[in-house]
Symmetry: C2
Subunit: 127 residues, 2 copies
């Protein structure tokens, strides 16, 4: 009966790309993927759950690090093939490198410059 799920155009692998934006700073934290089950769990639990394409399994963001993402809103684009999630980022760290955002490299003079400092050593996060 969840017709809102049927309005989504899942790709041929049954996935949809997800843009993750921090609700207070409006900063883009990461880009991930969800399948139907991940989106249902995210909506029901209010905590971001993604589909790991490398591990081929559901992945509750922060399950190891504690850096969970509390869902503020779930939006859909005009083509119904991308989700925008706004979240509160626990610990202020979304990236597995220990940085605030995964988008910490910026193109400057044909090189990817690192523009964000590591907040916490990954060895301390994932121990």
């Amino acid at each position: 009966m969840a017709s809102w799920l049927d309005e989504i155009k899942w790709n041929k692998d049954g996935l949809i790309p997800v843009i993750v934006q921090e609700s207070n700073s409006l900063k883009i934290l990461m880009h991930a993927w969800m399948n139907r089950e991940a989106l249902v769990k995210t909506h029901e639990d209010g905590v971001a759950v993604y589909w790991s394409r490398s591990r081929q399994s559901l992945w509750t963001k922060g399950e190891t690090s504690g850096h969970i993402q509390k869902v503020e809103s779930i939006s859909l684009d005009c083509d119904a093939d991308t989700i925008l999630l706004t979240v509160k980022q626990e610990g202020g760290i979304a990236c597995h490198t220990g940085r605030h955002s995964c988008f910490y490299r910026r193109l400057v003079d044909e090189k990817w410059d690192i523009t964000e400092a590591i907040i916490k050593d990954p060895k301390e996060i994932y121990q």
Copy 2:
């Protein structure tokens, strides 16, 4: 010699997903895809060029509507498989429906509520 391009992990179709964020409002405007040629053109011309998966061709955003996107920055994520583009949106309209952003539907009570007004009738934009 453009080694910055070789650092990118293109998917099996030679594409990378692109998050498009408005630089002044920090609003997410749209989600699109680029191939290597689109990214080179975007970088060189300073105007967003995407790869249209439906038309299988390069697509300069705004070529018909005039709503071009002037590039402010190009960033890459930790996995090197997503681009974040910040832009100045000409005309303040990124969506083909005539709205500011493509993400104009928000999940409320198991329904996708329309949260943004149409700024300009698409019939006037694409005539």
